[in-house]
Amino acid sequence: MEEKEKRVAHPYIPNSVPEIKEELLKEIGIESTEDIFGQIPEHLRLRRPLNIPKAILSEYELKKHVTELLSKNKNCEEYKNYLGGGCWQHYVPAVCKTIMERDEFLSAYVGEAFADHGKFQAQFEYASCIGELVDMDMVNTPTYDWAMACATTVRMASRMTGRSKALVAKSISPERLSCIKDYACSATPDIELVNYDPKSGLLDLNDLKDKLSEDVCVLYMENPNFFGVIEKDGQEIADLLHSKGALLSVGVDPISLGVLKPPARYGADFACGDVQPLGIPMSYGGGLGGFIATPDEPKFVAEYPSLLFGITETIEEGEYGFGEVLYERTSYASRDKAKDFLGTMAQLHGIVAGVYMALMGPQGMKELGEGLLQRAVYAVRKLSSVKGIKAPYFNSYHFKEFTVNFDDTGKTVADINKALLDHKIFGGKDLSKDFPELGQSALFCITEVHSKKDIDELTEALASVLGK
């Protein structure tokens, strides 16, 4: 009689060796796992094999299979990418990649500081570097992304002021606005948008004055705003809000802070943003992590939902130790009585952002920021040389991103972007749905990965596509 084919032990399941499995069952004193699963009522059991693909057991074939799928994508190394808007193509340094791949960080979770000392220290250093960028003393461990970070500041401001109306600049990312509306609505059911000036793209101060009242807890705005426009009236905006007892939360692109004034210096109470540009690959929008910073005052600190990793001392003379600041605030400690909720968020991205900031140092951040300012000016000049293109749409200073209007070309952004694909170019984000008042406009992003040649070729490609 032919022997029954022996089942292969799965490389990820050490006890799937049939003899070991049998031995363990015997040790437990049962015949099969049915003696355990049998307690589940029969009508709740699945009594058929799952209809999912068969196992690809060899690593080689698995790699081949997934790589083939990934190779169906056109990536931003093959194509020139001008999309940004909250996920930006910056250079990812080799050291960042090395640290991101370390199994120690990659596969750690919620261990305490004596065994996960390095994780705590790396997070503390990340927060410390963000603190220098934004010029604030209290920084959280990262939340999911910038959208959740800014929505969280709205909730914090509502609790701090006891008010339930929030103002949000219309010139922020529409995706972040959607998140704020969903996440903050139980705290601030009343959310009103503050217009931007149609010519400059700057926050409309008159509209702010009209909408600001004593029931407003916060204004959330971005600088640079979603259109890449650098706001200039920060201090006046902060003063207006404070005069009504409201707070100011400003979302920033951290990579701008080598050259742009941090929000704290024009009166902001909260700074928030995304760590993605700081050494994290875009990964189809997967590489995000939201930071929140405030003054180090108990009234702010008490309202954070995040874990806050603090430095302290151990029983060993001269040794740094780490732990969690005001743990009782968190939902791990206080469940439904906590400040919002907490969970697995984006700590690895925080650690890598810390590595990036340490590599860049003050000079690196300054030089990078200056180069981004200059490239945007050059790109604007080149693009506006093409007949029918208006760049930038807004008459203002821009950082890294700017709007390009195609109304006079007679073509839609959608058509232009389709045609640019033939030139292996991902054109700017089409704004016509989210901001119809801008006509056929697109948001272009230029970073340090773009050379003069790239910008010149983009210009030529656009001229060709537009038949100019």
Binding site: P41, T67, N75, V259, Y284, R335, G343, T344, G361
Partner: protein
């Protein structure tokens, strides 16, 4: 049990300075690419490219280091971290600390995912959208749900999204003002209480009966015309399977509520039992637990949220669809709760988990659950044989599925050594310290271990031997346990109250320097 030789372990201890203490003015770690001369000339002085009011006069005071020092510093910090891939991490019960395969990291670094922008034309992103679609199909089959969202970045995020969907559902029916109450159980994860509260609901948290979970009568008494729904897990954090779960669901449904199944503990039910058959409207999977992706020191994870048809219209936008020839993103969903995260969720995690499930496949997915329950029941038996002080409260005589909440109360009474002492001592043997319990500690002196399928018999035996050794020390040399750890990357904190004191806490170096009055 095989004979175990306890490790003479010592974790790396670099006594590493804070990176700011390593700073030397003028050092550089990385030079960014400068724009070409033509660009510089055309643009002029960068100071002139920023409104005067917004110009940063001096660069941020980041540390200044050469590249080798940055690399070495972070490798030191890595070595002072006990990741699950390095050690016997049965310790973190409820967290399902699986092996995180290296091949998945290689795949996630492929430019076909790492260098994709989320707003690329969908024609240029067909590969990643196919992965979204196919992985969703797999989750639908495993859970019996009808549609999934892969936007949430962690389990709690998925739970929050479920609460947001529940809110939208009741609002659409004109009942949100009335239906504000969520029912849950004490041994359900805290996020199932905190996330609905964040969404504006009030919680009714039912205590366990002698079974370890609430009684049917308690659920009946809790529902009313104010009931919005139920958020509950099964097995609960005690590892006890609630055999009356479908009755709970029916009671809540009959009262007009919806039911969300927190499947953080799903690792033991793959191919065994599904959310659908129990009647749930929604469920989630912690992909970073059950589906093999890294925890990343606490994220990014992926909280896959599944719903039945009647709730599909509320899922976050965009959803991933297939028209028979092409994958596309559907933004045109007017009932959607909108965005809970930017773009399309943590796509890098998705690639990793797709690879994991494809290599586990139909043949081994149920094996994952079978081995997990075998591992747990073996570990529990050996622990109770070897350590008479260990108790397992609730539902006496009933087998736990994938984990148990143990109790060290008897040892504390006999020796004065507590569970927080023992967990620190565990670190001295090269094991990650173990998870006690979420708060409040309903089980006194708790310990929660989850020996999922990634651990072999020798790992289980080692764990038992270490705990037995520490138990013996508690009698023979309690101080060594109370002052532990001795061989870890750092030591017990001198004064934990410092972290609750505004004058002494510091989450940044600049705050620490100010408060300590040092440079």
């Amino acid at each position: 049990m095989t004979n175990v030789r306890l490790r003479k372990f010592h974790q790396a201890h670099w006594d590493e300075p804070i990176i700011f203490e390593l700073s030397v003015p003028g050092r550089r770690g990385l030079i960014p690419p400068a724009p070409e001369e033509e660009i510089k000339e055309a643009a002029g002085d960068p100071k002139g490219l920023v409104p005067e009011e917004m110009l940063r006069k001096e660069p941020p005071a980041l540390p200044e280091l050469d590249q080798k020092r940055v690399l070495a510093h972070y490798i030191h910090l890595a070595q002072e971290t006990l990741g699950g891939n390095l050690c016997n991490d049965i310790s973190q019960g409820t967290c399902t600390m699986k092996y995180n395969p290296r091949i998945n990291e290689e795949l996630a670094a492929h430019p076909g995912i790492a260098s994709l922008h989320p707003w690329q034309d969908v024609d240029t992103a067909q590969g990643i959208l196919e992965i979204y679609y196919k992985f969703e199909e797999i989750l639908k089959e495993i859970s019996g749900m009808d549609k999934f969202s892969l936007h949430p970045q962690g389990g709690a995020h998925a739970v929050y999204t479920a609460a947001s969907i529940m809110r939208a559902y009741h609002r659409d029916r004109g009942e949100l003002d009335k239906r504000r109450e969520i029912i849950s159980s004490a041994f359900t994860h805290p996020c199932d209480h905190a996330a609905p509260a964040t969404a504006g609901f009030r919680l009714i948290i039912l205590p366990p009966s002698e079974n370890g979970y609430p009684s049917v009568e308690a659920v009946k008494a809790a529902v009313s015309e104010n009931t919005a729904g139920m958020f509950i897990t099964n097995p609960e954090d005690t590892g006890i399977y609630n055999t009356e779960i479908d009755q709970f669901v029916k009671i809540v449904h009959d009262a007009g509520g919806l039911c969300f199944y927190d499947q953080a503990n799903a690792n033991v039910l793959l191919g065994i039992a599904r959310a659908r058959e129990a009647g749930f409207d929604m469920c989630h999977f912690n992909i970073h637990k059950t589906f093999g992706t890294p925890h990343g020191c606490s994220g990014p994870g992926l909280g896959a949220l599944g719903v039945r048809d009647h709730l599909a219209k509320y899922l976050p936008i965009p959803t991933v669809e297939y028209d028979g020839t092409k994958y596309y993103l559907d933004f045109d969903r007017p009932h959607s709760v909108g965005k809970v995260r930017q773009f399309q969720g943590p796509a890098g995690v998705l690639v990793r988990t797709y690879a994991w499930v494809m290599t586990i496949g139909q043949e081994y997915l149920k094996e994952v659950s079978e081995i997990s329950t075998i591992n747990h029941n073996y570990l529990q038996k050996k622990l109770q044989e070897q350590i008479p002080e260990i108790e397992v409260p609730y539902a006496p005589g009933r087998r736990r599925l994938e984990e148990a909440r143990y109790c060290w109360q008897k040892l504390l009474e006999a020796t004065g050594v507590s569970t927080t002492d023992i967990l620190r001592r565990v670190g001295d043997f090269g094991l990650q310290h173990y998870w006690t319990s979420h708060h409040p500690w309903v089980v006194p002196e708790p310990m929660t271990l989850e020996p999922c399928e990634s651990y072999g018999k020798e790992d289980l035996d080692e764990y038992v031997a270490v705990l037995k050794h520490i138990r013996d020390e508690a009698y023979s040399d309690p101080e060594i346990v109370k002052n532990a750890p001795h061989k870890c990357a750092s030591h017990k904190l001198a004064d934990e109250t410092a972290l609750d004191d505004p004058k002494r806490w510091a989450t940044t170096w600049r705050a620490y320097v100010k408060k300590k009055g040092r440079a």
